[in-house]
Subunit: 248 residues, 4 copies
């Protein structure tokens, strides 16, 4: 068993658009995604676990262990559905990342998915006061749809590494329109790119008419900030099974 | 051949509880486990070797080579059996750790296993004078049973890495009640977490009514300490086949 | 899916000679190869993508994502054809490099390929003013054909690592004549071995009578230099998904 | 294709004893093995190449490329045969080392092999004036046979890593008598353990009655020393295809 896909319920989805935001630079994508799932009360319908994820468990607020998972949530609107792809981890290595993205695309195809938006961060060497947003994708039409107040990604960045790049690249091969939207953030592992995440949320709120009450954004984000900061701090204090020294 | 499971005898086991303690932070789990196996005169009934273990041999006290193995021992009590999972190594990498834990759970299921307890250490930045013990698990009932004088693990730790975390996480997926018990220790590779191991032993002695004579604990632990210290020191002096430089 | 070979058209080739030049020390091989493809207006006829390539996308000048690919181009001459093997990446690791080279040799065999020339750089500790060229191969006859103004590679180098070495080594096993031609360059990752690439081009121009107008060489190379320098600089600024810290 | 075993001729062997000496600490084992093959005019009868070896080629004295190989040589005596296992490389990683050793044991079993001797070095922190030799193995009888002027390996060393340890460990599982003989050497990658190799040769000369003229030993070893030193120096100067920087 390498990839385990567990369906929780079997929702009917209309012309779904998939939005991904996993851990990465400044956790910009993850913060934006988790906020949308929370605010829109999106429902989990698929869990993915894998031998290709880190060999650890997380401990939840009830003191119960949880295997690393990546989850799919959905929210139905009048004429279309949104699917949110979030989680605690990214696949372990290059091959696993290819396999994971193709697995997600297979699932998405099963729901007759129409469009993909991946979210991520760009690691700057210092904290950006006003993070810029950059957009690239599979085709000009889709880029145009999502490039509200954003710049062309080829102005700045080289390769886009990980799920947020590869999912878009592999979508192009299958002729699924897709964009990658990246907000500037700070490269330090403990930094949380709240401002960058807000830029991504503003863009999606505008393009996808999410009608998320932006007044609530600030406070909510601070909560998420504390929760994640907490997790990251804890992570530093323990390394439960370090490599033993007998291998030398 | 990747995983090789060798059965030595075929014991009858009643409602077995599995306890694991492998090398890791301060060797806390390994020290506690090896002590119990010794004191309870538990008998070896399964050996696991694997291409997924380090590519080396150990040399025993009779100057004979031994492949790295992880071993299962059992001890029958009136109404239940204990299975002890110990050894010299942990699986090499993330995937192998998942495979190993699922292999152990398959074996455990074959014996109609009832409950799992994994032991490990938490790496602090300095030697703890009075190591605390932390407990997490698959459900509140099992955690309560094993949380004698221990704290909730989510107070302190982030992810629990390696067999002691993953075995509990994968047990949860199969609806096998399981707990992970971690004692504070020191992060230095040569440090032996004797005090932490004693905390784990006290807890198990109490919860599982092991009736181990605790008066003997101190001396015994010192012996184990010297034996392991010896092994670790030796390990430092040789690296029989270093990576050759032509790959450079 | 691990290796994906996409044929674009189905050209007729006569006694083809394959020339490879992928990223590596000073990008010497890549610069020379890309220049030949450009000047000779060679046409792409095969694209290779793979789970064994880096898990990223590049962004092209039109701001569109592109999966990492290695490409085959061809150019027909009167009595023979040239096949050019170029791209943005090398396979990820040792095994993948063996698989890739054997895959290329299978394709080449399908076209009744006659000869192979691989191009690469040698990393010196400082910038060489007059880069020397070194030649080795599968047999003396082929080496002699390609060793114009070059030295024996065994005067200087130890193992030749990567596609430029392995393709020649695996060709020898299949009795396909092959040479590896290496130009001295500078080991710094940002350095572009333009002068070394010119030495390779001079040698191939002479041996294969490419009739490339060498007057144009300098300017063209400067353009390529800027383009690649640009790419390399960008690469430094972003690392879109760094490894998250929870694995620790 | 992962492991490729090529038979060159099909010799008749009597009760063969296999002796291995591959690159490692001080190249002690390799130096001793290559010297015996040379002096005894042992004939090559098997070549092993593999995707699990380094992805490179070596350049021989005739300036021709050679894939990394591990080779088997034989020499027939009146009542028994010797098989020598030597080469330029060790398998790349842990799994490959297990696979390689089991592959060698399969071949050895096909020739009804009787006994195995593996040679290696122990890395000290400074150059030993009088290198000691240490011996361990699968059983006391075989250890006694080969322990001429040597000490018990468990006096000094911890795990024995790589082919010289694992071949003996896996032989034990198949009930093939085997010993590992290790000479002290210096841990620096460029150091050549000539003195240690001589200690191994003395021991084998005595135990196996090889009748190698030990007067010739010194000069011969110096030649080998220069040849290998040459190779190692060259290796330092080039790293033909360094990892390109776009993976970041």
């Amino acid at each position: 068993m390498v990839w385990k896909i567990t369906k929780i319920g079997n929702p009917k989805l209309k012309n779904p658009i998939l939005i991904s935001g996993l851990p990465g630079v400044g956790n910009v994508g993850k913060i934006a995604l988790d906020f949308m799932v929370d605010k829109l009360k999106a429902k989990k319908f698929i869990e993915i676990s894998s031998y290709e994820f880190p060999h650890c468990v997380f401990i939840n607020e009830k003191n119960i262990v949880e295997l690393p998972t990546i989850e799919l949530f959905y929210k139905n609107f009048k004429n279309h559905s949104l699917i949110f792809l979030g989680g605690d981890v990214q696949p372990l290595d290059e091959r696993a990342c290819y396999e994971f993205c193709d697995t997600v695309l297979d699932v998405f195809k099963g729901y007759k998915g129409k469009e993909i938006v991946t979210l991520g961060g760009i690691a700057l060497e210092k904290i950006p006061k006003k993070p810029e947003v950059f957009c690239t994708g599979t085709d000009q039409k889709t880029i145009k749809k999502y490039s509200f107040k954003s710049k062309n990604a080829n102005e700045l960045v080289g390769p886009i590494i990980g799920v947020s790049g590869l999912l878009t690249g592999l979508a192009k091969r299958r002729n699924i329109p897709a964009v990658t939207i990246l907000a500037e953030s700070f490269g330090h592992p403990n930094y949380l790119g709240i401002k960058g995440a807000r830029r991504l949320l503003d863009l999606l709120n505008k393009t996808l008419k999410l009608k998320i009450n932006t007044d609530e954004l600030k406070g909510e984000i601070e909560d998420i900030e504390n929760e994640i900061k907490d997790k990251l701090t804890k992570t530093k204090t323990i390394s439960q099974h370090s490599d033993t020294s007998y291998i030398g």
